[in-house]
Subunit: 268 residues, 2 copies
Amino acid sequence: VSAPPPAIILVRPQLAENIGTAARAMLNCGLTDLRLVKPRPTMPHPRAIAACSGADSVIESARIFASVEEAAADLDHLYATTARARDQLKPVVTARQAAIEFRNYAASGERVGYLFGPERTGLENEELLLADALVSVPLNPKFSSLNLAQAVLLLAYEWRMAGDATAPRRSEESKEGRASKQEQAEFFKRLEAELDACGFLRNTHMRPTMVQNIRNIFLRGGLMKHEVRTLHGVLTGLTQRPHAPRPKAKAPASAADKPPRSRRVPSR
Amino acid sequence: VSAPPPAIILVRPQLAENIGTAARAMLNCGLTDLRLVKPRPTMPHPRAIAACSGADSVIESARIFASVEEAAADLDHLYATTARARDQLKPVVTARQAAIEFRNYAASGERVGYLFGPERTGLENEELLLADALVSVPLNPKFSSLNLAQAVLLLAYEWRMAGDATAPRRSEESKEGRASKQEQAEFFKRLEAELDACGFLRNTHMRPTMVQNIRNIFLRGGLMKHEVRTLHGVLTGLTQRPHAPRPKAKAPASAADKPPRSRRVPSR
């Protein structure tokens, strides 16, 4: 049962560009039912089409009405967006709460819609007469005026999020997947053996803490199988230098600083 | 302890208008730290100022950098926005989850920032080398491309919402407040007495259900003190017609249809 998304009703929109960018924001969030009450631009206006960046279908199927009453006639619930507090006893809901309520209504087969006023003047009181609630987006109180398309985006986005099941944090794992604890332990033991061999872990008192710290660096983010292979290669590269450039005969001092390692064993 | 908001880093932005509308979206959500890496427009560009609709301070204090590394140097956490899946093993978080994580970091005094790529091409892999995670906004998979300022808005909005304590649904009550149960009961009893008197509740079998239904109409939305006074006035107006126009002598038939009520008592 996929709930029908809200209708977006733009009342007396003044700029064709804003109708276009609002349509784009709608389609970004899966909304397609655009209704225009007395739009100033003749629709479909070419600048609205240009501004919608590919959401042409939303512009082309937009319906024009002469009043809010006609535009909302088939809806069961109508929430109006308004930045200004008004002397009206309507409940005020956040955009997030409105989305939750609309999802609930829609799940019962009830039709829902949002009402947006003109760019500069907002909705008239007469245009709010059928609204069940006012939607207010909690923004910076010192700078709260949103562009029309930005307001449409936030409400449409909250609708989408209210029905979204995307995992909040996920790892894009390679097909091989994560390194097992055995693979991790093998790498750690080899690393610690090399660090014992080079004298880095010579302080036996500090050794357990050092080992712990080093392991935690790698454990914190988790390791993939192919990353453990890369780390084995890094270790081989640093300790056995199988591909290090040969010292040049003409620079013996430099060659003495970095002698080629004599211990050469096959890398893993 | 108010957490410092995220820095917004725009990498190679191409259009001055987008820098302006992004600045507006930032300030809408209380963000002010704008950083530009190799912007194409010479800043502060007049079209950026025009498009920011009053967020001039954000544009004027924006800092310009030559690389992502320099722009992010003072940050502790950097999340990159990208629409495209990449062959990189970075965790992918939703915009909402990113905001929660950033709030946690910021509460510990750690500095956070979001990285945005150029309008058409997005971020290069080299520009992602310092990013801890990728942010993905769950949108319509068939139409997911957001305008730069819209993307900035959604991330900034989620940051704001993650720290917002606005009641999800509230009533703008008048100073007098809600009608008490006693005031409600008095109105209901008066209404039911009038409905008994006029014969509407004559069916004694149905009467309890009718009374219940009528009360629920009013109880569902709650009633304020001044609304109960209005309803008493409505009842007086309908039953006692104290202000009804007098029937005209020249139209006796019509006057007979709607005789003035003889029972006149003072309205409440």
